[in-house]
């Protein structure tokens, strides 16, 4: 890794990370991938987020769904842990709460595959610094 020496170096990494602004910095820039983030703070992990993440990674591959599963920090919804964010290609991200392995399975089969609603959606309740 060459060291970052200038602001242009930062910019280069930034561009490399997201050719599309909405992809939010995942290394895989494929536009067709479903992107899933699993809340892996202490409270998430304590509620079983690791099992959910392992399951999602494995199940999506087995079921031939192009997806990128990554970990992230605490989303703030401790009451509904484990929480995951699912972003289908070209759609807004949706956060699901109370996700155990069974629920994760349902999310893949119903929400990701068929676009059907699955219970436990947590609506966005905050503004970001860019709003």
């Amino acid at each position: 890794m060459t060291k970052i020496k200038t602001l242009a170096d930062l910019e280069r990494i930034k561009n490399e990370m997201r050719s599309d602004k909405d992809l939010n910095g995942s290394q895989d820039n494929s536009e067709n991938a479903v992107r899933i983030k699993v809340g892996m703070g202490t409270s998430g992990i304590a509620s079983g987020a690791r099992d959910v993440m392992d399951f999602l990674t494995e199940a999506l591959e087995k079921r031939n769904i192009e997806a990128v599963v990554s970990q992230t920090g605490d989303m703030g919804y401790s009451y509904a842990e484990p929480t995951i964010e699912v972003r289908k290609p070209g759609q807004k991200p949706v956060v699901f709460g109370y996700v155990d392995v069974k629920k994760a399975d349902l999310i893949i089969e119903k929400y990701i595959k068929l676009g059907e609603e699955v219970e436990g959606i947590i609506p966005v309740n905050y503004q970001t610094i860019d709003d």
């Binding site: 890794m1 060291k3 970052i4 020496k5 200038t6 602001l7 930062l10 990494i13 930034k14 490399e16 990370m17 997201r18 939010n24 910095g25 995942s26 290394q27 983030k37 809340g39 703070g41 202490t42 409270s43 992990i45 990554s70 970990q71 992230t72 920090g73 605490d74 989303m75 703030g76 919804y77 401790s78 009451y79 509904a80 964010e85 966005v124 309740n125 905050y126 503004q127 970001t128 610094i129 709003d131």
Partner: protein
């Protein structure tokens, strides 16, 4: 009251600044942080700004210390910058100790680079080349992610020598605390890092003059640092439009207790407690009646119904008899006994007092004993006066912030829930039904069918009665464990 940074008013009550990347990026991948403009503020500071410009920007932003005290961060940096020395230090206080608080842990677990970047910026502005993060060993995941972040930042040349091609160098080490509450106090924290006992010393001298090994040291809390890169990216004038006149920006709270949506929230200063508890927090669990909200941890106080519309900021909370603290917010309902709540916090303080000064060491123990007596029904009216007098003496004479604030839970409950104290002392009753010694279990004769289930489950044989006849609980023997009440299928046992 609250202006949302010049943008259109939003329907959302929260703005995520310190939590900007938390739950968004992979904290173990520095590139994801960079993709969200991470290290841009550091780069700009080093290549385009003079140290005094950065300090002015932080001062103009109005950022105040998020660890509890609310001291202006820019002023702290300026004092440390003005003190000349061959070595200076930047310290991050990650010794989050308030019961129920987990804001700092979540930031470190979710966005560790923001803290590293801010510390490097602080180092450049005050002329320090070394950073230390003091974190409690009870936070293994936060420590792990910090280690990864520091390693990656070094690898990318964002920590170390010649940052951004300048001759500025900065590096960060982690120091572990054993989770002593007093070590969140900055002088005690510094002594602990020096390998000494974690005991506070009198200020002045402040750490900005004489801190770690006698060198000028800037100590800020995790959340304070997490705001810094964004302030420098978006500008002081963006930041200082959010919040109230004297408290700018947002505050992260850890909502806990009898509230539906337990979790992390970040609201602009000036948001009311009602908005936080009812609109964001979803209200009280099981739709019970709200009784109080405790803020500021063991140094804070309990606020009541009448404070619900108080806009939250540093000064308003102090005026209401509590304090901002680091951001723990524990909600209580009608089932919480306020004398027991005060006792809980005092028990914590007695455990955590370092013992160096006698008002704190002895005084808090005596306060605890008085509260314990009251919850046992052995208190007298004179005790309530004693509680107040002793609290004031402890506040006035203790050496550090721990003792100076430890009686606050007692004073604020005395102020707001005096009737409840009187009920314990005079009527020997605990309205909330939490003080076991003040409760009696009764059999309601009309409901009792004489099934003997209660007598069989009673661990001390306090219940007598023939089959198919009304049973009787002997209050002399009963230990108030509640097993009979739980077992009875006929609602024939009640507690008063």
């Amino acid at each position: 009251m609250t202006n949302l940074g010049g943008s259109k008013m939003s329907q959302h009550k929260q703005i995520r600044i310190a939590l900007n990347n938390c739950g968004v990026i992979d904290p173990e991948n520095i590139k994801e942080y960079i993709a969200r403009d991470g290290y841009l503020a550091l780069g700009k500071c080093l290549t385009e700004m003079k140290p005094e410009d950065i300090i002015r920007e932080i001062k103009d932003s109005g950022l105040r210390g998020r660890g509890g005290g609310g001291f202006p961060a820019g002023l702290k940096w300026e004092i440390a910058a003005k003190n000349q020395a061959d070595q200076k230090y930047v310290v991050c206080n990650a010794d989050e100790g308030d019961p129920g608080a987990f804001m700092d842990r979540s930031i470190l677990e979710g966005d560790p680079h923001a803290v590293l970047e801010a510390m490097a910026i602080c180092g450049y502005s005050m002329g320090a080349t070394k950073g230390l993060i003091y974190i409690r060993a009870e936070y293994p995941l936060a420590i792990e992610r910090l280690k990864i972040a520091i390693e990656q930042a070094r690898e990318f040349g964002l920590l170390g020598k010649n940052l951004f091609g300048t001759d500025f160098e900065f590096d960060i080490e982690i120091r572990y605390g054993a989770g002593a509450f007093v070590c969140g106090e900055e002088t005690a924290l510094i002594h602990s890092m020096e390998g000494l006992r974690g005991e506070p010393t009198i200020k002045p001298p402040y750490p900005a003059e004489s801190g770690y090994f006698g060198k000028p040291t800037n100590v800020n809390n995790v959340e304070t640092y997490a705001n810094v890169p964004i302030i420098l990216r978006k500008g002081a004038n963006w930041f200082n439009k959010i919040g109230t006149e004297k408290s700018k920006g947002t505050k992260v709270f850890a909502l806990a207790g009898k509230i539906k949506n337990v979790g992390l929230v970040e609201v602009p200063m000036g948001t009311t407690l009602r908005e936080v508890i009812y609109e964001i927090g979803g209200g009280i669990e099981n739709d019970k009646k709200f009784k109080a909200v405790q803020t500021g941890g063991p140094s804070g106080g309990c606020l009541t119904e009448k404070h619900l519309d108080t806009p939250i900021d540093f000064d308003n909370l102090v005026q209401a008899g509590s304090m901002m603290g680091s951001g723990g917010m524990i909600v209580m309902d009608e089932d919480n006994c306020m004398v027991s709540v005060a006792k809980f916090y005092l028990e914590f303080t007695v455990e955590e007092s370092c013992g160096k000064c006698s008002p704190c060491r002895i005084g808090n123990k005596r306060l605890y004993e008085l509260l314990d007596r009251i919850t046992q029904g052995k208190g007298e009216m004179e005790d309530l006066k004693r509680l107040r007098n002793m609290s004031n003496v402890i506040k006035d004479t203790s050496l550090c912030g721990l003792g100076q604030t430890s009686p606050n839970p007692v004073l604020s409950t005395l102020d707001n829930f005096y009737d409840e104290y009187v009920a314990h002392v005079v009527d020997k009753k605990c309205i909330a039904g939490q003080c076991k010694d003040l409760m009696t279990y009764f059999v309601i004769e009309e409901n009792c069918v004489g099934c003997t289930a209660c007598a069989r489950v009673c661990p001390v044989g306090a219940i007598t009665g023939e089959k198919k006849e009304v049973h009787y609980i002997n209050p002399e023997i009963c230990i108030k464990c509640g097993a009979c009440e739980e077992r009875c299928k006929f609602d024939a046992i009640i507690v008063k």
